[in-house]
């Protein structure tokens, strides 16, 4: 029956609804640049959501863990084979996404008899110089968007927009700033998602958060403190000052504690 164009469009629409529904309880991911590189941050329940892909590439994802793993392996294979056959500088986020996984995700999304990938992904790429750092976000339908300075993943585009608006108003220089802003931005996203869920809405039609402008840092820290018992703050860096070709490193617990906003530190101990 999907041979009829209308049926096919309807099926794709149903798929979009299904995927939005699957992702509505996912945990947001935030990526920001700072003076030494890029910070990716999320809060996860046990299974990590942030990964190293190549020397200057890191991945954040939300969605089904098995789908995320499959696409992560695709990226790793492509990156390492390309890095071996050509050179590390030929492994770019843009090529991996545009000619690698975005077409795969799109194809899976449109093949209505097969299961789509229940994922949203954020690929961060450390440039050779400060100011050349970038992000690529990929949606479950294969559409991708290139950004600089910051990028986010959240359940819906409305929530993502709220997070982007929030992060844009912040000033980030040091790692401490980056951790602070990313945690607050995460809280903006997570609050908006929970609010949409409570209102029984999970999609782009979610009502705009009228008091968004008014949300103070204390409210956001309080939200994070409430989440900490069941979730762990996960931060990874692409740090330009790391020796050697691989610039990826996870922020260890003691290092994270040293740069966390004081409002959050007691919650960790």
């Amino acid at each position: 029956m999907y041979e009829e164009p209308y049926r096919w469009v309807e099926a794709v629409g149903n798929r979009r609804q299904y995927l939005d529904d699957q992702l509505k309880e996912g945990t947001p991911v935030v990526g920001v640049t700072y003076e030494r590189g890029i910070l990716l941050m999320t809060m996860s329940k046990g299974t990590p959501k942030l990964y190293e892909i190549y020397d200057r590439l890191a991945l954040g994802g939300m969605g089904h863990p098995a789908d995320l793993e499959k696409l992560r392996f695709n990226l790793l294979e492509m990156a390492h084979v390309e890095g071996f056959n050509r050179s590390a500088s030929d492994v770019t986020g843009s090529r991996l996404v545009k000619y690698g996984i975005a077409p795969v995700i799109k194809q899976a999304f449109e093949e209505v008899f097969k299961a789509p990938f229940i994922v949203k992904m954020l690929l961060a790429e450390l440039g050779q110089k400060s100011g050349k750092d970038g992000f690529l976000t990929i949606n479950y339908d294969g559409t991708f968007e290139e950004r600089s300075q910051s990028a986010v993943l959240a359940a819906t585009s409305v929530v993502e927009q709220k997070m982007i608006e929030y992060v844009r108003r912040q000033s980030i220089v040091s790692l401490k700033d980056a951790v602070d802003v990313s945690i607050r931005t995460w809280a903006v996203g997570d609050r908006a998602q929970r609010s949409a869920l409570e209102d029984g809405e999970g999609r782009d039609e979610a009502k705009p958060d009228s008091d968004q402008e008014m949300i103070g840092a204390e409210t956001l820290y309080a939200h994070v403190r409430r989440c900490i018992p069941e979730k762990t703050i996960e931060c990874v860096l692409l740090d330009r000052q790391v020796q050697g070709p691989s610039k990826y490193r996870a922020l260890e617990a003691d290092e994270l504690e040293a740069v966390l906003p004081t409002d959050l530190n007691p919650s960790l101990s």
Binding site: Y51, E52, F73, H80
Partner: protein, 255 residues
Amino acid sequence: MQSDFYQLLKAQGYILGVSGQAGARQELTTATTILAFKYRDGVLVAGDRRATAGNMVMYDRTDKVLEIDRSSVMAIAGVPATAYEMARILEHSFKYYRRTQLQELSFEGKLRALSKLLKENVAAALAGTGAVAPIFAGYDAGQEAAKIYFYDILGAEFEGVEYAVSGSGSSTIRGILHYLNTWGEQPLSAMPEEQATVQALRLLTSAAEFDSATGGVNREAGLYPVIKFITAGGVRVMPDLQLRSLFESRVARSV
């Protein structure tokens, strides 16, 4: 999920080395001197910098002590094209494993990876077009110790409990290492870093004295051997400035 980078390459049609013709054996080229020994803080790995083709000096700035990852080093003796290719495969294999499995490949796994590459290369090695006899040294996080292994061209793996040598100048310094370790003022494994470095410089200078394919120190050009240390903190390179200072004060008097 194998996470074996070499298998991934092979699945895409990659072939290591040049396939050799059985029986067409030529003189094996292992013109170099590389050495590794345990000192007080870990393992020191050193190599001269000369690359030769027959009796011709091709290059005097070769780095034969290659950092494979943050905690392991492969020193190469043999055909450079194959040796460098093996080092690149290993480097990518270890990174690929770490990134896919979210944990480091074990030290035994790293040793096995090199052994497998050498076995794959046997035909080229026997034909004389790709013989490699490397030393692999690294920090074994499981046993909290730096270790040395050396290989023959067929892939057999041996632990150098105290030290290991390879290359055309190795026969000269193997005896010296044995003497130093057995009857020296203190065993190699008790030497502090500076003393170990001086010994490595003296050993490579001795090898260059008797083996034309081993490059000695070229003071005019500022060319010194490559010396790297492997400790619990990872791999570290001894800077040329320090090598120069130690060479001038404690090695050069008799050269």
